[in-house]
Amino acid sequence: MQHKVIDANDVVIRFAGDSGDGMQLTGSLFADMSAIYGNGLSTFPDYPAEIRAPHGTVSGVSGFQVHIGNTEVNTPGDMCDMLIAMNPAALKANAKWCKRHAMILVDEDAFDETGMKKAGFKTDNPFTELSVEDRTLIVAPITTMTKESLKDSGMDQKAILKCKNMFTLGIACYIFNRPLEPIFLYLEKKFSKKHPEVIEPNKKVIQDGVNYAANVQAIPNTYTIEPVKSAKKGTYRNITGNQAVAWGLLAASEKSGLPLFCGSYPITPATGILEELAIHKSLGAKTLQAEDEIAGICTAIGASFAGNLAVTTTSGPGLSLKSEALGLAVMAELPLVVVDVQRGGPSTGLPTKTEQTDLNQALYGRNGECPIPVICAHSPANCFFAAFQAAKIALEHMTPVILLSEGFLGNGSEPWLIPSMSEYPEIKPPFATGAMAPGERFHPFERDPETLVPKWAIPGQKGYEHRVGGLEKTHEGVLSTDPVNHETMVRERAEKVARIAADIPELKVRGAESGKLLVVGWGGTYGHISSAIHDLQAEGVEVSYTHFDYINPLPSNTEKVFSGFDRILVCELNSGQFADYLRAKFPEKHFVKFNKIQGQPFLVEEIKSAVRKEI
């Protein structure tokens, strides 16, 4: 067979297997290696809710998609150029994501009668049954060759079988011309202390995978994807959204000089933040794995009262449980960051899938008039800045802040140009200072006339003894059911949040400042909408785009930006919650909704066709 090396701009590879096959590891190793090589990159893990779903079944398929390119990559890609399927179920679950020209690599050994039956195939030709027989099919006896490769390694049969994913990784490395050194380095680092005996066998099996691919004559093309040329100079790393949230909070702790306290209860897909913070005690972070979601937020509120930068992390159902306590933080006017990594709802819903359906809950899900600033992150690496901002707003404006992330961002990753902390601003909470005269009393709700922010006196400060709590109070902190006082306090708490608009960046428009159609997005849809707009504008379609990182309050130039357009197409992964919010704020504007509620990110193609329909 004539072998061709194709110089590609970008490729999408989807690793899929049984949830115990190690596909998440294989995919992230491939991604890390590509990052180190200098490619643009975006990843998307798509895994089942069950840790070990029934072996070999479609429900147990775990996938990891990697999109690499020679320019900046904004999304994990819609369809894949290569699918690696470790068993019939993985093929069945993922065949629909293969492009017309895609390559499909399968482990021939797993396609026996049992495997086919478990996956629910009705015929003995899975490729025809799935209508992918015209793709480039590479049917390789991966299990047999892994056994052969490691027969002299001294490892037992079970351990050898676990290395199938590494043989596969070797094949992928050959096809996409990846250097092996970064993987070898990773293996050495990871296993040098506890299991040095597995380093060499793993290296061997990867190398044998490469050799097999080079010799088999079944692979028509290999690809090179050059490093990004225009990339900004500096030090990069690959980072997931959950890790970036944790680090952004640690950065805010450093910049405010306040110790970080995180009280949280484990919940998918937010747990990674608590786990990450638990590691970094060296930066003074205290983590408390609470007895429930309510204790998570209440311990954080206690920590805030005691003068820490307090955080609680959760996902939708957990946010529901925290509602009452959120009201307490609003009433006591204490800083608090609540991170909601959204997942499919309602109720337990689709715990491992992504959605943007908690927006209404974040905005309104409390009793009484209870305004809370809501901000969101737009990419995995952006989670760092978003978390830093959430903490900055909370601390400087004495309010709880809800940061909306998404499962797609929390578990997804991308390369990140590491900033220097010297580029980040100081955080200056409004501490109450100075000695109190004898008989003088601290007034906990007396406000700054400009920002309406009260002062923060922390227990331990002599002479500032005062009481806060859920009951309505006067500016002096005295209990009051006076009707006028209540209305004043309700209005002031709302106005305090509204005035945060002065501290947040203005909206930017990509494309013309006026025209027929403005596309609007918020949160984690940024990558897909950006890519779609980029392509459409390159084709000459007249469309502009603006993306919201701040939901409450909205950026101060929102009305001005909207005024330039006839119609506004709001794209979001829910039934139109942000569109409804905007409609209520700007009733004179014409909003059109484009929604998807499938637990999956948008496809770039879906956005493009939605825009074309409106033009």
Partner: protein, 339 residues
Amino acid sequence: MANLTSKDFKSDQEVRWCPGCGDHAVLAALQRALPKVSQALHYEKERYVIVSGIGCSSRLPYYMDTYGFHSIHGRATAISTGIKVANPWLTVWQACGDGDALAIGGNHFIHAIRRNIDINVILFNNQIYGLTKGQYSPTSKLGTITKTSPYGTVEHPFNPGSLVLGAKGTFFARSLDVELALNEEIMTAAALHDGCSVMEMLTNCVIFNDGAHKSLSDPAVRADHTIILRDGEKMVFGRDRDRGLVFDGRKIRAVRIGEGGYTIDDIMVHDSHSDDIGLHMALAEMKGPDYPVALGVIRDVKDITYDDGVRDQVKEVMAKSRIHCVDDLLRSGSTWEVK
């Protein structure tokens, strides 16, 4: 340092409990105990934080001139936990009721005890929901008639002492609202205890559950129906101090000294510091008519505390780690250069 008096702990807020409510006496005992605690431990007033949930007794922080947090129903224990972990230097007191701590807040309550977090919890037990005007609580006796149990309750009550000791609590004391001097004593002991101290105060709700503890608090029968346990002292009770507790090898028995061959030498001596949680549990569970109800500090043992554990672990990791600032963190692990 200033010599604090009970007046220093009184706020300028008018106390709004019903006349005759048992909470007044508990508040007075606390205001008398804290100056003594301050002197013993060299604490300034600004070091105290008083936390509460929701209910009549949870109004207490407003009446104390200290830092205070009147939170939401059931969550006081979680708020206290956060305050103490965030700043172990603060001394945290908590006021909560039987509905607040044992029904809606039961989960936080048992976990604070399990963690042995160094907070002082005053559990006001009047066996009724007072602020919502008279519904049964998790400590109401079986058969209690209330607005939500017009034909009597059909559920067993919690004995808070069993709950605390069942969660391996390190400090449990019980008293009556009217035992002012004993309450001061208990509160001081609780403050000196390093760990989670639970003080059950049997309080009288004059409006909705008047006389619930009358069989214990009535001066005519108090000495016969209760026993005050003090370390190193014989477990003697009764108006004539002629009754006592013995251990017959199998269980505790209440006996009359001089009868049935029992002499004063057979009477047990209280040791709240003993490891024997079984004996403490048996004492906490004593009830009439066969036994007196135990008052005083029943259990007070040393164990590691959660707040110390968190603080020490942070210190330990700080000393070992190579990551000392966020710039270090961002550059840790695998990175690459674009030149």
